[in-house]
Symmetry: C2
Subunit: 209 residues, 2 copies
Amino acid sequence: MSKKGCLVIISGFSGAGKGTVVRELTTRYDNYALSISATTRAPRQGEENGREYFFKTREEFEELIRQDALYEYAQYVSNFYGTPKAYVQQQLDAGKDVILEIEVQGALNVKAKNPEALLLFVTPPSAQELKRRLIGRGTETLEVINERMARASEEALLMDRYDYLIINDKLEECTETIHQLVQREHLRMSANLDMVEKIKKELEEMKGE
Amino acid sequence: MSKKGCLVIISGFSGAGKGTVVRELTTRYDNYALSISATTRAPRQGEENGREYFFKTREEFEELIRQDALYEYAQYVSNFYGTPKAYVQQQLDAGKDVILEIEVQGALNVKAKNPEALLLFVTPPSAQELKRRLIGRGTETLEVINERMARASEEALLMDRYDYLIINDKLEECTETIHQLVQREHLRMSANLDMVEKIKKELEEMKGE
């Protein structure tokens, strides 16, 4: 079984419960590491550099872009957000399965550069259930809920580019399903070419016996 | 979750324990069906048409080839052996995961025509262990064992074309690993495009609300 970690990209509609599932995965199992984003926005009270975010100046962030040191980046309002490669690679090399919870377009950009990444799309069982969950939160205005539903409609157009579809009906089940998927990923032939080489070599050597 | 079955192709060195694992899978779980080969050889005592094999005359077999009704076929000694598509498709449509236990070249031929097939390569943890198992059977002459080791050496050259590498160290574990891999296959995006369409449609319809 491959000892290098697997890059797991999780996307899904706002309200699908991705955040809860990811928290559950990292709480239950110690093989996961969360990717940490870089941002140019100022740290808020209690936030620590290298924990919530890597806080960067605009110049530092632009330097990361120039060096191709980010898997993907985007601008929201006047701030940049991106995924530094170095931290993810370091965790993968240490054998951690790294979870990247990002939106659809960013996810597809990362996958394009890293075909071995596991692309998971999390959805509630139906659009009706998605709306129910958004309303159930009780924190969003109807306007925001309708915006999110409209955004879901756009994101749905790219769903079929993902590797697996995960239906988040029950948290427990959904968490286990994702965990198993990630564990099985370590059995991929492409992650075990050293084992293949070992066996080929042994078989060659035994020919003389 | 997709209701259509998954085509699972299992190959591996002679002595890797494929047969035992496949028997264990079909005994423990009722979602599996074994593919049944067609052959031109005569039925032996106790063999039944449609159970061990589909017994065919030479003319019937050649007709199957002409109609492209076989996934793959090969000639051993003076008899033909092949995998009829119709039976496999019938089982897949009925929701069964169909196991095809075939040798490497045949497996790659089937995969070329069916990219969605799951290609599993089963191996003992080492070449030494493979030889120990072949000797341990106590039924093979040293000459036959050496022939099998030489054949393993050839098959190993194509191992890396498989989707997953399954190390058969303990039967129980190996069986469960394969079962999990097959179950996860039902979550593949390509197997769930109807669910994607359903959600897209629902989201579109809710836009007016």
